[in-house]
Symmetry: D2
Subunit: 291 residues, 4 copies
């Protein structure tokens, strides 16, 4: 099929959404976009995207809708708020959400879509803005295998790996589990660095030894420089990691699964968020010990 | 210098001490050993080591003493108990301890050694029994650079990397920081797997996605199979990891460094240790959610 | 004013709502009631209350509406669900909610009421079913002082103390703060009893000493017998305390106020809730150590 | 028996030891005292006590020895350090320790005493300096009933209640359990006040409501004014409460009893201790939220 014949809608033009949209345009798709702050669309519009006036307008123009917004309330507003997308989605279309939300909301959206003949995938991503630019995101997908098969050519433009993890909600569940682990890894590094430096030993020593040991990790490679330098330019913002820890704890508390270290870490991120004057990367959890 | 001219003493013939001793013998050193349970010495004696009747006898026979026992009380007993090693150490000899103990005890030993003209290095190791067998341990070393230089030929027989981290105590501080991180990484994986499986998704799915993401880690490669299968044959025993978390928290509480997630994780390891009927690997922290 | 001239609506006929309604009837008020499970209304209907078919019908019949349901979703359903109360509330009427919900939801309700000319008080209660029966509840009230003055004759029928704590939301904030403290007091007692009994000392000894010391408390008098006997007939159900801890943590995380011990305790209540086969009092947190 | 015929030794002349000694003198006992800082003995010496030059000298002069020092290392120094008391204790004498130490150390002392024909009671106290002055302390006692019977006339001079709780160690176990509860009650109040005040509501409102509810407690009456005013003149110093939490956690971790909220609270006290410039009451845990 000619990509240009497929009309794609994209709602949410943040750090992730913009490069994802750019890759769709480069692949030849016709793209209609919307963002709460319209100016964020400039680059995409210059590249050929059409700017809609509402989520509703995007949905009405699309065979395939993709949303990627900051949190559950933002997504609910986009779908069911004023001029929301849900009631305008076309029968037979596919809707993919790549925001990080609760599995319960993903299932609620799936049910609402099904009532209208719309097939839904929850498909949060990992890989950062860097992965979004390179088209090398990892998609964690919940939903129907047939739907995924049909969505695959489009998702493959943005990601290098598509993991089908189960029915709707499964993508979000795995995403929350992943982010718990990332948040705890960075917090563990911060606690260990606090202990090390307060003992009078340079943090670099700890990092150097770790890199030669089983304690090595992706997080260590990417985030240790931030913690050592105290520079926290947002790659994945702390406020979003804090939100995801809340979603993971909500899920654990619905299921009766105790998450003691996650709960402890969430309060540390919370303390840093409460004291922060600006938007910081989640590695700024280190500031808990540098107040 | 001919290695055989150097008399080495080795106290502590556990999972780590035995292969370390074997590598010293293979390198041509003359070795005198002692262990609380004497039968653990059989293999080394068969390979040419001399079995002493007390720590004192080992110390008296050695130019270079190495100890690697399970915890601080065991080391204090070896050094200052009945027929202990410390009063018998030879002036001018070098003493290296590779147990994991508190930095404070390492400094106390260094001071006691200095009074007798004995130079001390705290040099805990990482790399597991596998690294010990291959002679590929990583040594985290606190003490004098000159002493380390002199000890290097011997330590290099057992390890591939010798990190000099600062004065006495620095090796132990970094070791405790490392083990905090390992313990939290495994606990984080366990919390995430508990959330995933209780959500009805196979834990293997989470591990598979993690391996393609920034959440990948040395721990994931080595320990995820244990957690997924529920098989916890001790490689690094949970009771020792639990002890090391206690040492890290003691240090943090002496220094006034709060370690909230470490404290939360320690109680989980504690609960599992309290309920365990047998010796388990520290990855058995997963049992907290499978009771 | 003749109480009978005032039409009161009551939605939510649980452990608290039923005796509160009975006291209103005894005081001479005309009462219209609704409950999701209609059979719970039998006793009140027998005493003279009118049973409505929907929340909407209750609201339409009332000068003064009182709701007391189990959680925020239940209240949202009652107000804005099918045949909900909010759109039917009469201009000039007063609406008092005694459920425990988030301060944010209390403010949202207040705003929705104001749009319709309805004055709202958030007025959660403490005192248990026993206090409800005796008409000796404590009301924690957020809202306008004038409104409270008008509501006072009615609330005084059910409660012995009316604390006016600030604008809308303030009642709920204080209620959540109170329940955090109660939950932590009971958890602290449970942790201390676990330590005591595992040390081989009867828990009764600890309780006896506490009663002679500064560690005495209302919770100790009321809940210690439950913990000692292992009998947890619900007075205040664990599932509701667990929910309230979640609301308190949500509030803390919105405000950037870290609540580390509350977060730790919540996960213990969570573990017990997850393992419970039946409805238990919140003092059943003790079961965490008796699994 | 004439009290003056009984020679009592007292080691440890802090906030508690001084008034306890004064009550012994008033009751007519002959008293020999020692303190690391000798000037603390002035008042007692003026009242008739004899000042010894070492713990050894006190022990040698006493039929009944009482110690009350700040922590386990201080007690070990007093007993087994230079010119220590233990080797000088008279056969047939009674030794009572009212410090807060670990149950294990209490049992070790009991065993060492038994070897010398000395009967030992662990008898930590509660009631504060105020209770010490009034002779209204509560003693939590571990040891032999016969020994307690013989010690009772002397202990009754200082305390109004003597609880016999079990064999040696039992007094310390109950004391640690008590202090866990006190520490958590004060931390719970601090967390709740932080939530309340950050919500824009005066903390006094929370305290007022609590006093009318089941959340009332001895701690609330005594400590709430400190937290509200931010005045933390030491009554029971934070550094000692922090130490006792460490002893309780050590005990829990030896027994395999998880203490999650206690562990969380200990790290908060730790953070405040680490940042404190001066000696503060343990109610200063509130400073965690006021940095």
């Amino acid at each position: 099929m000619n990509p240009a014949a497929k009309h794609i809608g994209l709602i949410g033009l943040g750090l992730m959404g913009r490069p994802m949209g750019m890759n769709l345009i480069k692949a030849g798709y016709s793209l209609t976009v919307w963002n709460r702050t319209a100016s964020r669309a400039d680059e995409l519009v210059a590249a050929g995207a059409k700017l809609a006036r509402s989520p509703e307008e995007v949905a009405a123009a699309s065979d395939f809708l993709l949303t990627i917004v900051s949190d559950p309330p933002a997504l609910e507003e986009v779908l069911w708020g004023n001029c929301g997308a849900m009631p305008a989605l076309k029968r037979g279309s596919i809707y993919v959400d790549s925001s990080t939300i609760s599995p319960a909301l993903a299932r609620k959206i799936a049910a609402a879509g099904a009532e209208r003949g719309v097939r839904f995938l929850d498909a949060p991503v990992t890989g950062g803005d860097w992965g979004a630019k390179k088209g090398e995101l990892v998609f964690m997908i919940g939903g129907d295998a047939e739907t995924l098969k049909e969505a695959e050519p489009i998702l493959s433009v943005m990601g290098k790996k598509l993991f089908h993890l189960g029915p709707n909600g499964a993508g979000q569940t795995i995403k929350l589990a992943m982010n718990m682990i990332l948040a705890l890894q960075v917090d563990a590094l911060a606690e260990a660095l606090a202990l090390t430096t307060r003992s009078g030993i340079a943090g670099e020593k700890l990092v150097e030894v770790m890199q030669s040991s089983m304690a090595r990790s992706g997080v260590l490679d990417v985030k240790a420089p931030n913690l050592l330098k105290g520079e926290y330019v947002p790659s994945f913002p702390l406020r979003l990691m804090h939100k995801d820890l809340g979603l993971a704890l909500d899920l654990g508390n619905q299921l009766g699964v105790a998450l003691p270290a996650t709960a402890a870490a969430r309060e540390i991120y919370n303390a840093v968020k409460g004291a922060a004057k600006e938007d910081l990367d989640y590695s700024a959890v280190m500031k808990f010990w540098k107040r």
